[in-house]
């Protein structure tokens, strides 16, 4: 037996096994639907399988993009549009690009993609979003070998680049935790996955949002103090305080570069397609701090707005929702807030698009 051919055959056999299990839909089928990777898989599969009659509108964003298609679609008869969403908690513009690529491979399925951003000014964050290591677990099933170069170099930290590169090459490394969890109780996992495949769409579609509010919280901007009702959870009080009084990060242009790159890539995908990209600025919270990030005339979305198929919903359109009674925590709308938010999106997007042709 000669060594070189046998060793090459061994590597090929490993690559083939790895490829069959992880680079096809085989393992993603069994992913834990409650973990980030499995959750994204579920959301995307639900959207892909949703019957699409008539012109479609798709929402995307993070956990604050609380568009309820159920409410929007109650108005389909008058608007002519059917709404869906693949907004995912914790997802980032980089992930949105790959999620959209997977959901809408031809870039022609939707009349509009509604992208919810935190700020029209590319407000800086304390951490470099390009190095968000959670991103990889959101999109790992969506990445192929052709993404190796671009996805890897989109991280700035060499450690994250290494992690991304080896993750794309050897997806099992990213699925490891899920696999260990699967091994703990494979029977229950299979049962839960089956249940999820059957019912997850209706669970998400029928979601109502929690009734909790921030009523009872009072802010003294001068003294920089927050008064919370006695029954407020300490964690919530801490988070609201942090959101309102923590210093804002200094402008460095890092986030602007990141947003320009990934929103630019999304735009490139939809250039020349019938879909319009509609950006909205999310409601900022039940209380809005007076020291907002500076106006950025060349921000990613403002630059894109000059393009023919891009529209920015008026920046302060959702300001009426920025009330304590419509927020359940420092970031997220509550049930009634979600209802109003969804209706406002539906009406405004339908107005922008005009009646379907």
């Amino acid at each position: 037996m000669r060594a070189a051919p046998v060793l090459i055959a061994s590597v090929v056999a490993f690559a083939a096994m790895e490829g069959v299990i992880f680079h096809t839909g085989l393992y993603p089928w069994i992913l834990n639907p409650d973990a980030s990777t499995g959750y994204v898989e579920t959301i995307l599969r639900n959207e892909q399988n949703r019957p699409k009659n008539g012109p479609q509108v798709l929402g995307i964003g993070d956990s604050r993009m609380l568009l309820l298609p159920r409410l929007s679609n109650e108005h389909t008869a008058e608007t002519g549009y059917t709404f869906g969403t693949i907004a995912t908690a914790g997802s980032s513009p980089r992930s949105w690009y790959y999620m959209l690529r997977d959901t809408d491979p031809t870039a022609r399925q939707y009349r509009a993609i509604v992208l919810a951003v935190e700020s029209y000014d590319d407000a800086e964050k304390w951490v470099d979003e390009a190095d968000n290591d959670a991103d990889l677990s959101y999109v790992i099933p969506l990445l192929g070998l052709s993404d190796l170069w671009e996805y890897t170099w989109s991280f700035h930290d060499p450690k994250q680049q290494w992690k991304a590169a080896r993750g794309i090459l050897f997806k099992g490394l990213v699925y490891k935790r899920d696999f260990e969890d699967l091994m703990l109780d494979p029977v229950s996992r299979v049962r839960y996955v089956k249940l999820n495949r059957r019912d997850a769409f209706s669970w998400n579609y029928g979601y109502n949002g929690p009734p909790d509010t921030l009523v009872g919280f009072h802010v003294d901007w001068e003294a920089k103090t927050l008064t919370a009702p006695p029954n407020a959870a300490p964690g919530l009080v801490q988070n609201v305080k942090g959101r309102l009084f923590d210093p804002l990060p200094p402008e460095s242009g890092t986030r602007n570069r990141y947003m320009k790159y990934w929103l630019g890539k999304i735009y490139e995908r939809y250039r020349g397609s019938p879909a319009r990209l509609i950006f909205l600025r999310l409601p900022r919270g039940g209380f809005v701090r007076p020291d907002q990030p500076p106006y950025h005339p060349r921000s990613s979305v403002r630059d894109l707005a000059a393009q023919p198929n891009v529209t920015l919903i008026e920046e302060h359109f959702f300001d009426p929702l920025e009330k304590p009674e419509l927020f359940r925590d420092e970031l997220h709308l509550n049930g009634p807030g979600m209802d109003r938010f969804s209706l406002m999106i539906t009406q405004e997007v339908s107005r922008i698009l005009g009646p379907p042709r």
Binding site: A3, L7, S10, F14, M17, F170, F179, M183
Partner: protein, 464 residues
Amino acid sequence: MLFNTPQFFLFLLVTLGLFYVSPKPLRRWILLIASYFFYMSWNWRFAPLLLSLTVIDYVAAIWMERVESPRRRKLFLVLSLAANLGFLGFFKYYNFLAGMLAEAMRRDPHAFALSIVLPLGISFHTFQSMSYVVDVYRGEQKAIRNPIDYALFIAFFPQLVAGPIVRAREFFANYYNWVPPVSEEKLRGVLWILLGLAKKMALADQFAQIADSYFMNLAAHPGAPAAWSGVGAFAMQIFFDFSGYTDMAIGMALLLGFHFPTNFRRPYLAFSITDFWHRWHISLSRWLRDYLYIPLGGNRHGSLMTYRNLMLTMLLGGLWHGASWNFVIWGGYHGALLGLERVFGRKNFQEPPHWLVYPFRAAMTFVLVCVGWVFFRAATLHDSVYVLQQMFSWHGKGILIPAWLGCMLAVSLVIALLEEKTEWIERLAQGPAWAYVAAVAMLLLSVELIGVTEKAVPFVYFQF
């Protein structure tokens, strides 16, 4: 640079490449430079220490061979041993002895303590050096004249850090008659490396998480099931960790055309403690036998002296592992068990029992070994006593080892039993290509999927 890191594999590939493309006279230099680079990548400040020990033993051996007078020969031997044991003693045992002294003087236990970093692999390379000078003194080994050759024997990177402890005559017989590895050896080398990597990352590091969670927070896991599973997890961790390291060392050496002795032979299938020590860390057992037990008198001076020698050897063997009373007790415990087995008839514990009895004897031995591991792993003597109390408390619930890891263990046991009977892993490289290919692919997949890759967990024996 740990064996289980991408950096090490890059280093290995570069070293192998340079070694095989270089002309023969340069190869020893390549290996020596690579070995020192490997050593210095951990802490370059200790390179002079390794170098000075190498020079001392190299010179001492040559002088021992040159001089005629037995007294002067002995003097050189003593000087060399004193240098080795002096360095080892200072780095490894100073704080232990200083602590005892402080306690005896009723002072703060850290009163005389120094902040000492243990040089990598010092326990191993000093033992290897000492065996060489003793062999030269006894006339069993010729002094090595080429300093590069000798320096390579001490610093050879596959076994520098945690063995196996290779005898000079084994190493140089191989070295001076070096032939490039044939295809079967190359395949075997790669297989051993991957097998070792899988043992380390997919099994040892998984069990380490359980053992650590148990031993680092004993109060959180009361009761016998938790104690047995915590100790059992450590038993698995230390075996897969150390034997994994050794497998990798053997594999790397094979790829470079060197043959290292076997260091582990499925120790948890041992049917007695005597048998266990013929299977566990064999190169150390052999060293202790040849350079400690036999020079002490071995079994040549009656039963009582034999027991004394056995006990002394095991106590010192325990102390070799680390400077703490726990290691001494661990050594003493094994010494006592070996003594007991001698009392009840040595033959019964050296020859395999009837196959029907074998599983019970093996299980019994495993339990006894696990009891010993308590002293080895627990941070303090107090912790050891607590764990032992829990193990034999017969109450509590909650096994810490998850079912899937238990299944992995069952698979490993089947593999070990088959290996015990047929040595199929040894012969895999000679068998059909498809079997080898399947084995390598499975090993790689196991490292990928269940190996702990988030961080490189150091090998347990690196601390010794």
